[in-house]
């Protein structure tokens, strides 16, 4: 198991470098000159030049990237060009809320998705299956902002649940209440894929030899499904969840914007549209790193579910 983790970590390094490079290049070619923004509206050409030198913007690109990497390794992500706050502080303040939102979303969406998928597989071809599958396809096809708009309008508007911002940490009553609608919105587009994958996968395992053996030995249907089929069926589901986290991070950008949730996604949107390079780079990096980290965990979990993978 340990070897697997180390191996995956090593594989992640080039991916991480690639992410940093793309994030760096993308914001290098932005037409707005960061020096002009930093210098402020009343600066002279000489002042702008001075700032450019100070930032190292006059050096060749690869050298700038090297310096950027060095700074990142020392956890120095610079300061925001707009608010002058250290980027690390900004990230610290926004990462928590984003993870809270993701967690709240996953906590309900994964069990519900798996339960629905399993149920659909057990009742394959019957109306339960049809209804569940129809809903999951509809969920996948619904733009996330439509879900959000509807929930805000009809649930929030009726005064049932709060819909603006965060109420505090998740373990407080207000914090929990505030996260319900954003988590529902984000989860609504997440359940579909999970349910579908579970259904397919459970169907496959239900036909497998060991399940047949278990049945032949007289195990109850409930036991067959829960103990034998589901456990093995979960492997592809876990992979899918890992991959879907990327989409979820994207969905979080929209959800956070709609619910004024103070997370990384909303900060990134603001930073990119206002050419706040250090913040944008920091946010992109952190989101990408979380994605890589989550998939690392998924891989390890995978090895746990299916020991053969770990040994390979």
């Amino acid at each position: 198991m340990f070897a697997l983790i180390v191996q995956r970590l090593i594989i992640s390094i080039p991916v991480l470098l690639g992410v940093l490079l793309i994030g760096f290049l993308l914001l290098q070619v932005v037409p707005t000159d960061p020096a002009i923004i930093l210098a402020g509206p009343t600066a002279s050409q000489a002042e702008i030049e001075a700032i450019r030198q100070q930032l190292g913007l006059d050096r060749p690109l690869w050298e700038q990237f090297g310096l950027y990497l060095l700074r990142v390794l020392q956890f120095d992500l610079g300061r925001s060009m707009i608010s002058n706050r250290p980027v690390l502080d900004e990230l610290e303040a926004t990462l928590g809320p984003t993870f809270e939102l993701m967690l709240a979303c996953l906590v309900w969406a994964i069990p519900v998705g798996i339960a629905l998928g399993t149920q659909a597989a057990r009742q394959r071809g019957q109306w339960t299956d049809r209804v569940i599958m129809a809903f999951s396809v509809a969920g996948v096809s619904m733009p996330i902002f439509v879900v959000g708009l509807l929930l805000i309008q009809y649930v929030g508007g009726a005064g049932l649940l709060p819909f603006q911002g965060r109420g505090g940490p998740l373990w407080t009553g207000a914090g929990l209440l505030h996260v319900v609608l954003p988590a529902l919105t984000l989860g609504a587009v997440f359940i579909g894929p999970v349910a579908r994958m579970t259904r397919t996968s459970v169907l496959e395992t239900l036909g497998a030899d060991y399940v047949r053996t278990a049945r032949a030995k007289g195990a109850s249907e409930r036991r067959v499904v829960l103990r034998h089929a589901l456990r093995n069926a979960l492997i592809p589901v876990v992979t899918l969840i890992g991959l879907q986290i990327g989409f979820l991070l994207g969905g979080a950008v929209v959800t956070e914007t709609m619910y004024s949730w103070p997370g990384v996604g909303r900060m990134a949107v603001g930073a990119i549209s206002s050419s706040d390079f250090p913040v944008a780079q920091g946010a992109i990096m952190v989101l990408a790193v979380s994605f890589i980290a989550i998939n690392l965990v998924v891989d390890v979990f995978y090895g746990y579910l299916d020991p053969r993978i770990g040994q390979r």
């Binding site: 991916v15 994030g23 707005t32 396809v137 996330i144 439509v146 990327g246 990134a268 990119i272 890589i292």
Partner: protein, 300 residues
């Protein structure tokens, strides 16, 4: 002996063709899929014929006729079937023009991004030593939330249809590349690839003639599903404000523009939003049906 194996390969290809026919037949027996197909044909026709069938100029504003409900009849007796938007433009006409943009952007994304994805996927499967670097590259792409990527691109290129197309294309690469690689790896293990190589066929011919043609149907199915996803992502990016610029009509930006009137004049946002929903739904239902039809294990 190699001849025999190649003959078998051709026979397989023929069989695949026959299977395709049976897939279409099976598809037509599946009511939701048929409905989805019919809906998509209708939508495509509407998009193609938009300039000839729109009731009004989709760009002509009239501030005195703004935000009228569906079924509104103007002072001159003109009927606005789906009402008017915040600029007093006919929503039906804008939806028809918007379809062209929305579907067009999705299609371009799937063609460009999907094409690149297929190239990467098959190359990775064919040349083993390229596998790791190419797939790591795909991992890098996957690590970027596509929405952020789109936003960053918009910051670079300026918001507009071009950056939208680029962002969606890049977002489409990883999925298709993975599917193509998976399918191609299976084909690579077939005897006829070995035989073809033994016969002295070049890499290009092998990839084109055997690899791609045999993966074709799988890739096509995922491309159908991806088209739905691309349209969805495009609408989200437009919603965040980096899509079409005024007065251009595009379903995502129409929803975004109309959303502030959701309480008072819900039709302005809901009509384009529902249109997006149904198009994506149709693509998904169709893609699913195709996939089920292809995978005999899940049939029955």
């Amino acid at each position: 002996m190699t001849d025999a194996i190649l003959a078998e390969a051709d026979a397989r290809a023929l069989e695949a063709l026959r299977r395709k026919n049976s897939i279409i037949r099976r598809l037509l027996r599946d009511p939701p899929a048929t409905l989805a197909l019919a809906f998509l044909v209708l939508i495509l026709l509407g998009a193609l014929l938009a300039p000839w069938i729109v009731p009004y100029d989709p760009f002509a504003n009239s501030m005195r006729l703004r935000l009228k409900a569906p079924g509104f009849v103007g002072p001159d007796g003109a009927l606005y079937l789906l009402g008017t938007d915040a600029q007093g433009r006919d929503i039906l006409s804008r939806i028809l023009y918007g379809l062209r943009a929305t579907i067009g952007i999705g299609a371009i994304a799937v063609l460009c991004g999907g094409g690149l994805g297929v190239l990467i996927g098959t190359l990775a499967a064919y040349y083993r030593r390229l596998d790791t670097p190419l797939m790591r590259f795909i991992d890098v792409l996957l690590s970027f939330p596509s929405i952020l990527f789109g936003l960053a691109l918009a910051a670079v290129l300026g918001p507009g249809l071009f950056s939208l197309c680029v962002a969606l294309s890049i977002a489409a690469i990883p999925t298709i590349a993975r599917v193509a690689r998976g399918a191609a790896t299976v084909v690579m293990q077939q005897d006829y690839m070995e035989a073809g190589r033994a016969l002295g066929l070049g890499d290009g011919a092998l990839i084109w003639r055997y690899l791609l043609l045999n993966c074709g149907s799988t890739i096509l199915i995922y491309a159908t599903l991806q088209l739905g996803q691309s349209i969805l992502l495009g609408s989200v990016l437009s919603f965040l404000g980096l899509g079409a610029q005024p007065p251009f009509a595009e379903l995502g930006s129409m929803t975004a523009d109309g959303r502030k009137f959701l309480q008072a004049f819900p039709h302005v946002a809901t009509i384009p939003a529902l249109t997006i929903f149904f198009i994506v739904l149709a693509f998904n239902v169709l893609g699913d049906a195709l996939r089920d039809a292809l995978d005999p294990k899940l049939r029955q």
